[in-house]
């Protein structure tokens, strides 16, 4: 399926670049409105407490305060998942975690809003709490919610256990008996935060007539519209949501935290309300991903063939039911073609903030366990870690551990590239170790809507419904230009508001370049069909006798007539006389996303005196199908790898006995900074996805999956001892030494 492209694979300057380097780009907190109020949220200081009473009278009496709301201001919501989202935005009856919103204020200034918060009197009755996954799962643990225990679950687990999943095939017990070596280990990973630099922010204006405007930083403004209109009981058509430029999300902006609150305050006050979270609020009440406790058992024969694998994953997802361990269970062994495999997962609630997706949600921790045990088996059996992975690697036709049979995939290609790379053969200095690990992500398709207008000057406007989180307007413009056969610069892609194009799913699952790409190509096809029809009309020949080649209509052959090609611009120039504007659009739900695999190689150095681990060299190999804009694909791989480095070495949610988060700030929640890192070499592998006209798979998430294990494997080699818990912070490494 090798194709020649004119535009795909080049590296043009992104269309939104100028605004972003001059400070003009409008992010969530950058918009204001005339007569606007400023809102603040009061949050629970307790991990778990009954809200006995809230007295807002003093706050309401403060000059400048225009509205105060609590959970009592929100009506009952029928759909239980929407209800959980609402109750996460504003507690009703009980505060379920440290940082849970209990009241909100809108006032004429930030200062008055902050003063008003201090005047709200909340009487709490504290309740027993639980923040650790294993404790929360144990029968008798304090229950976060009653009556939501997963069906099929027995008395051996508590009512905090809300879901159970199992995937696999074969007979694992028989498989273990065939192994020359079986290793079983328990692993723990801390909860980590997406760490986007832009806190959640919105500007809401909702009138008494139920018509509203909402500007917000989100990964999916249609999702915001659906959820908010349901919570507020207004028509979706009446709430127009516009996505601001988004200052990072990584999954953390795939739900709402503040928008229903701001809308309610606006409704109550009759004025526009701006609500911006502080960094502390972001840590205490948004995000994080799940923490995990896992048992992984793998058997291998002396030749390196994995005879069986079994993973038990217990994920902690915070204060509401959720179902994300499924992704972990599905991805745990997805890299390998195994005869006998089972992965099980339990979703568990605790008194922590409600989890939300973080880049390849669920996969990095499960993969950390599996890839660590494989590495240990390689060590014990004296086998090369890449050769062992090649021996077991999933290929086209392999039955995956989670069910489907793979079509064309690129894991073997990525492993071969890693094996042949100079990095793998480079000498290792003292106190240094080299880790390798594989990773997998599904990539999603989902609902899309694209509208494309051909302008009379030969340029093209394209409207799509997915917030651009890392350069998608560039890749979509490139695909439009490629499909139409015109220069990239002639296409302008904008992210429309919810009133401009049809519903579009959230920007997640590495789906945008794949799904919006397909819609764009199909919209271009529709426009080309019309362009050919117009040319046929001008030439007075049959529309079927016209084809589109290199951006121009031309007769299909001499029999069709002898006319010179007519360009898009030429046809568009006269469109007013040949039947009116020319446009193309496409709505759909493409479902043939291609799974993606990555292989990471890392050299780590551990200082034996301080226990500090530094990354000396990093090379990431990833099959992306087709890199539309290779520089932004490299950027995704580099960024994912570095988030994984933070997860492996320094990032963690730290809770005390009191159930309160101890490190809600960037000083104590340490994400990697420039001086922590070397260059991150990204090697793009292109095994086209047969489910996309240009071969696109999606590339955003896979890169966060391998680093946890790759770094742990490197540390194990560097210090001669293996850690089974993340992050591998200096105190833990010193303890191991």
């Amino acid at each position: 399926m090798k194709q020649d492209f004119k535009i795909l694979g080049t590296r043009p300057i992104r269309p939104d670049g100028l605004e972003k380097v001059t400070g003009k780009a409008m992010f969530g907190a950058d918009k204001s409105a005339t007569g606007m109020l400023h809102a603040r949220i009061l949050r629970s200081p307790h991990a778990h407490a009954e809200i006995v009473s809230i007295d807002t009278s003093k706050a309401e009496a403060l000059a400048g305060v225009k509205a105060v709301i609590t959970g009592a201001d929100f009506d009952e919501v029928e759909n239980r998942w929407t209800r959980y989202t609402m109750q996460n935005c504003m507690a009703q009856g009980r505060a379920l975690y440290d940082g849970h919103a209990v009241a909100a204020v809108a006032a004429t200034s930030k200062k008055i809003a902050a003063e008003a918060l201090k005047l709200i009197e909340v009487e709490y009755k504290t309740l027993p709490h639980v923040t650790d996954v294993d404790e929360a799962m144990r029968p008798g643990a304090p229950l976060v919610h009653e009556g939501v225990k997963g069906r099929k679950l027995g008395d051996d687990v508590s009512g905090n256990t809300v879901g159970y999943y199992s995937f696999g095939h074969g007979d694992i017990e028989a498989g273990f008996t065939k192994a020359d070596k079986v290793i079983e280990r328990n692993f723990k990973t801390a909860a980590t935060h997406q760490g986007y630099i832009e806190p959640q922010a919105c500007l809401a204006d909702l009138g008494a007539d139920g018509r509203g405007e909402l500007w917000c930083s989100t990964q999916g403004h249609y999702m915001v519209r659906e959820v908010c209109s349901e919570i507020l009981g207004i028509d979706a058509s009446q709430l127009r949501v516009t996505a601001s430029e988004i200052g990072g999300g990584f999954g953390g902006k795939t739900t709402v935290f503040i928008e229903p609150v701001a809308l309610k305050l606006s409704q109550k006050s009759g004025k526009p309300v701006k609500l911006v979270m502080s960094r502390e609020e972001v840590f205490r009440a948004t995000g994080p991903t799940m923490s995990a406790s896992m048992d992984v058992k793998i058997g291998m024969d002396k030749n390196g063939k994995i005879t069986a694998g079994h993973a038990k994953l217990r994920y902690q997802g915070g204060a509401f039911p959720y179902n994300m361990v499924m992704m972990g269970a599905m991805s745990a062994f997805a890299c390998y073609d195994l005869e006998n495999v089972q992965s099980e997962g339990w979703d568990v609630m605790t008194n922590r903030p409600k989890m939300i997706s973080y880049r390849a949600p669920g996969a990095p921790m499960a993969t950390y366990g599996v890839e660590s045990v494989i590495d240990e088996l390689c060590q014990k059996l004296g086998l090369d870690p890449i050769e062992v992975r090649l021996k077991n690697a999933a290929r086209e036709g392999s039955k995956s551990s989670y069910g489907p049979t793979y079509k064309a995939i690129g894991l073997v290609e990525a492993l071969e590239a890693a094996k042949a790379h100079p990095h793998y053969a480079a000498p290792l200095p003292a106190n240094t170790g080299r880790g390798v690990a594989c990773g997998f992500w599904f990539n999603f398709g989902g609902q899309v809507s694209v509208s494309m207008a051909i302008n009379t000057d030969g340029t093209v406007n394209l409207i799509e419904g997915n917030p651009d989180i890392g350069g998608s307007r560039a890749s979509i413009s490139m695909m439009a230009a490629e499909a139409l056969g015109i220069p990239f610069e002639r296409v302008r892609t904008i992210v429309g508001d919810t009133a401009s194009v049809g519903f579009s799913d959230v920007t997640d699952g590495s789906r945008v370049t794949f799904a919006v790409g397909i819609a764009t190509i199909n919209a271009a096809k529709a426009a080309i069909k019309e362009l050919c029809k117009r040319a046929a009309m001008i030439w007075e020949i049959d529309a079927e006798a016209v084809e589109w080649v290199d951006g121009a209509a031309q007769p299909t052959g001499h029999n069709a007539g002898n006319f010179p090609p007519m360009s898009l611009a030429e046809i568009a120039a006269t469109s007013g006389k040949t039947g009116g504007p020319i446009a193309g659009h496409h709505e759909g739900a493409p479902d043939k996303a291609g799974v993606s695999f990555g292989v990471h190689l890392v050299d780590v150095e551990v200082d034996p005196e301080t226990g500090f681990t530094s990354i000396k060299r990093y090379t990431a190999f990833q099959d992306v199908g087709k890199a539309i804009h290779p520089a932004y694909v490299e950027g995704q791989i580099q960024g994912g790898a570095v988030q994984g480095i933070g997860w492996a070495l320094s990032e963690e949610y730290i809770y005390g006995e009191d159930g309160r988060l101890q490190n809600p700030g960037f000083l104590d929640y340490r994400i990697p900074v420039a001086s922590d890192l070397p260059m991150i070499d990204a090697v793009i592998i292109e095994v086209p996805n047969p489910g996309h006209p240009y071969g696109v798979r999606g590339c955003g998430e896979t890169a966060i999956v391998p680093p946890l294990a790759a770094i742990s494997n490197g540390v194990a080699q560097a210090i001669g001892k293996r850690l089974f818990e993340l992050p591998m912070s200096p105190p833990k490494i010193l303890k191991a030494l």
Partner: protein, 160 residues
């Protein structure tokens, strides 16, 4: 409490403003002067998204009071580069695809420009340590570092 009257020069223009005694320079820039290029990522001086210079000195504007701007020359991202000619840092960041979401970009540009004034020929390590106070969660810093080094070379008149 009465407000404080402040005279300053921002991006070359004389600017007068009134602010509260406890109001940060960042809030003054964003809320009173509509200069929203500097961003608030943390409000505690940890992320660098609000970087500006005061009399040439790089600061986190969330840790500076608006009143401290009295008599000072302040530069924000809005003052860097001309409409018809971007600053080499801005252009190199674009050419290196060194931004994804772009929220940290204004702070990176202001901080890197301050570095290149002090040190026109920084090593990779110099750039990494100087920018250690500017968090970027998207890029892994690789392309940012390359872009800053390329801009430095360009400003020294070296061919890439």
């Amino acid at each position: 409490m009465s407000k404080i009257h402040v005279n300053s020069t921002i991006n070359g223009d004389t600017v007068e403003f009134l602010c509260e005694a406890d109001e940060t320079l960042l809030d003054v820039l964003r809320d009173r002067l509509n200069l929203t290029g500097a961003k608030e990522g943390c409000g505690t001086g940890d992320c660098g998204a609000c970087s500006v210079t005061i009399n040439g000195r790089l600061v986190a504007s969330c840790l500076v009071l608006g009143a401290e701007a009295e008599g000072s020359e302040i530069e924000t991202v809005e003052g860097i580069g001309a409409p018809d000619a971007l600053h080499p840092l801005q252009r190199q960041l674009l050419e290196h695809a060194a931004l994804q979401c772009g929220i940290c970009t204004p702070g990176i540009i202001v901080a890197a420009k301050a570095l290149l004034v002090q040190n026109p020929d920084p090593s990779e390590e110099d750039v990494r340590y100087w920018l250690a106070g500017n968090l970027c969660r998207c890029t892994g810093y690789d392309k940012i570092i390359r872009a800053v080094l390329a801009a430095a070379a360009e400003m020294r008149g070296e061919n890439p």
